[in-house]
């Protein structure tokens, strides 16, 4: 284990990262970088093997390649998301918009394209790891129209009814409500929620907003709460 941990990183407990990647060279590269970061790496060359491993292992973050032999990466993401909130980062050579959108739709939290810059990818992983840390108890309740977020318990309520939001969905919504109706640009959201410096991919934000609308809007095609401000970004509408 290397001693080059970044400052501020909580290495109090070993974090395990699952790498689902069929190319052994890339698996080896990821393994080396993750080990240098102080993580434990679980390597899976196929989605099938990942599903078997996940039965009795709980990784803190899963990295998934899309073009896998056998079960496709997207199906793996869907199947993991169906039963777990574990952060999933897609690491794929596919860069088309529809691949990014499909990946986020399937339930991924982030989408990194190959060839990646290892430092960037490690930063993405770090940000996702922070999401799986316990919530701080003293955060105030956020409210916007019929929506209520309780950051201390991670509960989200719509008209008093419990909403099922993933951690990243919760964080995006909290960020937007916290802005108090101010427009947040894609870059601001990428920086504050995903931890991107400058090279963020706005399509990730758009896909997540689309996913959120499906959960909080009565008619996702005609949003009343989470409004798109064309050319600027997104904002919350508190209503009357």
């Amino acid at each position: 284990m290397s001693a080059t941990l970044p400052p501020g990183f909580n290495d109090g407990m070993a974090r395990s990262i699952m790498v689902v990647e069929d190319d052994p060279a890339i698996r080896m590269v990821l393994n080396a970088h993750l080990k240098d970061e102080g993580h434990v790496v679980i390597e899976c060359p196929t989605a099938e093997q990942a599903l078997v491993t996940l039965v009795d292992t709980q990784p803190d973050v899963i990295l998934v390649d899309l073009r896998l032999p056998g079960i496709h990466g997207l199906d793996l993401v869907r199947s993991v998301r169906a039963r777990s909130e574990v952060p999933i980062i897609i690491v794929s050579a596919q860069t088309d918009s529809h691949d990014v959108v499909a990946g986020m739709e399937a339930g991924a939290d982030d989408y990194v394209t190959k060839p990646f810059v290892a430092k960037e990818l490690m930063a993405r992983i770090r940000r996702q790891l922070r999401r799986s840390e316990p919530r701080s108890p003293e955060l105030p309740i956020l409210q916007c129209g019929p929506l209520e977020l309780r950051p201390d318990t991670g509960q989200a309520l719509l008209n008093g009814r419990q909403l099922s939001l993933s951690r990243i969905e919760f964080d995006v919504l909290a960020e937007l409500i916290g802005a108090g109706g101010r427009v947040l640009s894609r870059d601001e959201l990428l920086r504050d929620v995903w931890g991107y410096g400058s090279m963020g991919d706005g399509r990730i934000v758009d896909s997540l907003i689309y996913r959120l609308r499906g959960k909080i809007e009565q008619d996702a095609a005609n949003p009343k709460l989470l409004i798109t401000v064309r050319g600027f970004g997104y904002r919350m509408e508190a209503g009357e």
Partner: protein
Amino acid sequence: MKLGLRARVAVAVALVSLAVAGVVASGTYVFASWYLLDQRESAALTRAVLDSRAVNAALDGGTSASQTLELVPSVGTSQPMIHTSEGWFTASVGIPPSVFPANFLSLAAAQGAQQRIEVAGDAYYVVGVPLTAGTYIEVFPLRELDQNLRLAALALVGMSLIAATAGAVFGATTAGRILVPVRKLGAGAQRIAGGELSARIDLNGDPDLDPIAGSFNAMAEAVQQRISRERRFSANVSHELRSPVTSIVGTAEVLERHADHLSAEEDGPMIAVLGQQARRMSQTLIDLMEISRLDREEPLTLENKDLTQLCRDAAERLGVDPALVTGPSVRTFTDGRRVERIIMNLIENAQRHGAGATEIAVQRIDGEVEIRVDDAGPGFDMADRDRLFEPFARGKDSEKTTSGAGLGLAIALEQAKVLGGAIELEHSPAGGARFTVRLPLRDTLP
């Protein structure tokens, strides 16, 4: 400026209409004028003869010439004149006898004569009939007839112009209607040019137009398929290059970080991966260049080659025992570089996926040469047989690192086709794969 097709058709039809109308109109005019003049002249002649008889009778009866003229019934519409030894007598002042042609009077006096003359722009018909003593002359004005004919001519010219205009309109609308499918084709082509590759033209059951629309649609279909194939290909290219670049950049980053404390145990495999991935990428690039050469359809360079020797050379270059190549020497005019490429790709395929080639057999069969490359590897699924020759295809169990980009068999097949041959895949007797290349034998240059 060049006129459009529609305008040109309109002008052409107008000109044809005008020409036809002109010919018909001129014909009508010529016939009508000839007929009317003839009618008029024969009527005038009859009249003059009848009048001359009355005049002759009166003169013979002793009536004076000037009095006799009063008796001519047609006074008013024609001008009767009598010429006797005493000179000219006429009932009205009109045409003077001086305008008659020189010998007219003598001819008329002798045997009678008729003549058409023109005086001050007006036409006249002059009839001369001999009398017992003298000559009776009657002058009929043809002006009225002339006027009628001029009116008719005017009407005919007008009709011709109307016919030409109608022709132009007819031409323009017909051309317009004929051009509807051409416009549809144009609109379809424009949509395709604008990127809407799925644009097609409706067939509407017209036996003349549907074949055009059908060909257009077939062309559009071919273009769409070609473009989507090329898109898939370039997506694959991008994917195939991204993977080695990812591992090369990634290993380089790790090694840079470890630079001051490199360990053989930890970093040795990384260095191996670096080299392996760099070679994989360079092989992919070489294959891609080969494919782009194939796409450029470079001409064949035919030379007299010994194919068996060529196989031995290819084996040797790949570190394979040339003794695996069996069979007699087979000489043919062929493109040596391409054949070598086929054989090398098949041997490499056997090395990667079939535990190495077990035999490379060359033999002559019915005017063809057959080169068989056998391996004793795990074989393949018959269901995958055709797919394995597609670019970027891989057997289901192949490891990404050791295999190439999946272009080798695709290139081999394409080269074989360019040479006029083919490649077949079957199971080898040892349970592996058997690739059979068939190439035409050429004893002379084509």
